[in-house]
């Protein structure tokens, strides 16, 4: 287990380094960052001054290692727009996005797992067909459009929920649904196949044969085993959600990291965009790392291969 953990950790580190290199080079595929920083009214001398002040005249690799060194210490550079530290900016916005992500993944799981289990108990029954129908529909629904339709229906016509902002928990209901529904189909399908597979095993037949009550067989013996792959899928989906929150936060004007990303992109604030890409990626890398560890701990076969 220790060997596996170390190997997996080294891989995560390597992935993180590569991602940092990619998000760093994003700044340079654009144009001269000195020109971007100086603004439109700057003279050539101004640009040259900024270039030397920020060290843009040094070789790119030197700049990368310099940036990496400071990033490791938690300093992601200065925002072009806010003129403040990017790390502080992101740290200030991240809690909103995290809250939204957690409620959304919980919503997806509470919707998808029971449906998946119900569908697996009676394959090809009405409930199985309804679950399949919902998942096919859900995957085709564009989230930005779904969000707007919810606003028109729930906020404007029925006046049930507020449209934008993040003051009360009511403000989180629609964003949670919009962010969460997209992850539900995949979780539902995986729960269903997992349950179907486990329910056909010998130990379930034995459990039934020795007269255990059906709920005990179903939840204690079957679901426990079927849920293992679902846990790692949920972790992956949670990572994807943080990246996808950019659309949802923009529509509902939730001032989280996703909204910051959209604002920064439209303002050409590249250091902030760079920092956000790095933070979102790191979060995903950490999540999958722990999901893999949990899986390996639960299922020894993974460790050996």
């Amino acid at each position: 287990m220790l060997y596996y953990s170390l190997k997996r950790f080294a891989l995560a580190l390597l992935v993180a380094l590569t991602v940092s290199l990619i998000s760093f080079s994003l700044l340079y595929i654009s144009s001269d960052p000195a020109i971007a920083m100086a603004g439109e009214t700057a003279t050539d001398a101004d640009i040259e001054a900024i270039r030397q002040l920020y060290g843009f005249d040094r070789p790119i690799l030197v700049q990368y290692f310099d940036w990496l060194q400071r990033a490791l210490a938690g300093d992601l550079g200065q925002s072009y727009y806010f003129r403040t530290n990017v790390s502080a900016l992101i740290a200030e916005r991240l809690p909103t996005t995290m809250t939204l992500g957690v409620t959304a993944i919980l919503f997806a799981i509470t919707l998808a797992v029971p449906l998946g289990v119900a569908a697996a108990i009676r394959p090809n029954s009405l409930i199985d067909r309804i679950a399949l129908f919902l998942s096919v529909m859900g995957q085709a629904l564009p989230s930005f459009w779904f969000a707007l339709m919810l606003i028109v229906l729930l906020s404007v016509n029925l006046r049930l929920l507020p449209t934008s902002g993040s003051d009360t928990w009511l403000h989180l209901v629609m964003p949670t649904v919009v962010l969460g529904y997209y992850a539900a189909p995949a979780i539902m399908r995986l729960t269903r196949t997992g349950m179907l597979e486990v329910l056909s095993t010998d130990y379930i037949r034995t459990a039934r044969a020795k007269g255990l009550r059906p709920p005990v067989v179903l939840f204690k013996h079957a679901l426990r085993n079927a849920i293992i792959p679902v846990v790692s899928l949920a972790a992956v989906q949670f990572g994807f959600m943080l990246g996808g929150s950019i659309v949802v936060e923009t529509i509902f004007a939730l001032h989280g990291a996703g909204f910051l990303a959209w604002e920064s992109i439209t303002r050409n604030d590249l250091p902030t965009v760079q920092g956000l890409i790095l933070v979102f990626s790191l979060f995903y890398i950490v999540l999958t790392f722990f999901a893999d560890l949990i899986n390996a701990w639960l299922d020894p076969r993974i460790r050996i291969n």
């Binding site: 891989l11 390597l14 992935v15 590569t18 991602v19 990619i22 998000s23 994003l26 595929i29 654009s30 144009s31 096919v136 529909m137 995957q139 085709a140 629904l141 564009p142 989230s143 930005f144 459009w145 707007l148 339709m149 606003i151 028109v152 404007v156 399908r189 995986l190 269903r192 196949t193 992956v236 990572g239 994807f240 943080l242 990246g243 996808g244 950019i246 659309v247 923009t250 990303a261 959209w262 992109i265 439209t266 050409n268 590249l270 965009v273 956000l276 890409i277 979102f280 990626s281 995903y284 890398i285 999958t288």
Partner: protein
């Protein structure tokens, strides 16, 4: 031997067609996709108006089912007085172009990576698996938005960006399919007779993984179409005045409280197209490789 050479050749195509026609998803999906393709191809013939012609005196005319609507503009007009039905019809071209273009590029990248990894294994496999992990850890929407903002939004840029970002699933599936096929006896036989690696890949491996390739290509097409709409909706995809469906929703957003049909119509079109492509993809998988469900 003599008797078997006389027997009828086994027809594989016929039962495949039969199964397709009995599969509801495939039939419904294929019908809608075919209709959208036809509409896109014949756009100049069937669009009642010029999709770019602005008539500021006829702004925000509601669709024909509304009391104030008229048959002149069946789906009404937008905030610049452009005919909504015509824009919707031309918009089908954009969605399909994005879907096909992005799926072709990402399909090429992902297939090469996946097949190489699956066939050669070892270091090649390690590098490809690593690249897939790196790609998966980058947030797609954020990276796509940032690149489009830096390079500038246009149809070509969006196709390129999505094509370069969406190859992960191709690579994953092609890798595992190739791994499966590689251990077959006929591959070993081909290698034993001295076929070159290229020949083994092209004549033994590729024909056997092409079914899975088609399925992933359809599903990624739908994925690309939905992402383009989201990018355009956020203002960093296809640029106005092109009639992208995502852009139409974005332009109608400010007036959605008074004229909800402005966002309902392009949204439903988008939903139907993506749904039918997904139905088709899922259905083809059910028919050709039922063991690969989920």
């Amino acid at each position: 031997m003599a008797s078997s050479s006389k027997s009828e050749p086994v027809k594989i195509a016929a039962p495949l067609w039969g199964r397709s026609l009995r599969h509801q998803g495939v039939v419904i999906g294929a019908l809608i996709v075919a209709m959208v393709v036809l509409i896109a191809l014949c756009a100049p013939l069937i669009a009642p108006h010029d999709p770019y012609y602005q008539d500021l005196l006829a702004r925000l005319k509601p669709p024909v089912w509304d009391d104030r609507g008229s048959w002149d503009h069946i789906l009404g007009t937008d905030h610049l007085g452009r005919d909504y039905l015509s824009r919707l019809i031309y918009g089908a071209r954009i969605s399909l172009l994005i879907g096909i273009g992005a799926a072709l590029i990402s399909g090429l990248i992902g297939t090469i990576m996946g097949v190489m990894a699956g066939y050669f294994g070892g270091r090649v496999d390690m590098v490809v698996t690593f690249l897939i992990t790196v790609r998966l850890s980058m947030p797609v929407v954020l990276v796509a938005l940032a690149v489009v903002a830096i390079v500038g939004g246009s149809l070509q840029v969006v196709i390129m960006v999505l094509g370069l970002l969406l190859w992960d699933r191709f690579a994953v599936v092609m890798r595992s399919s190739t791994l499966q096929i590689r251990s077959m006896d006929y591959v070993a036989a081909a290698q034993a007779v001295g076929c070159s690696t290229t020949r083994v890949l092209m004549t033994e491996i590729m024909p056997n993984v092409v079914n899975n390739l088609i399925v992933i290509a359809t599903l990624e097409m739908a994925h690309a179409i939905i992402l383009e709409a989201a990018l355009s909706f956020l203002g960093l995809g296809v640029q106005p005045p092109l009639p992208s469906w995502g852009l139409m929703v974005s332009e109608g957003k400010d007036m959605m409280l008074f004229e909800p049909w402005l966002i309902t119509i392009p949204g439903v079109a988008l939903f139907l197209l993506v749904l039918s492509i997904n139905l088709l993809g899922d259905g083809v998988r059910d028919i050709t490789a039922p063991e690969n469900r989920n």
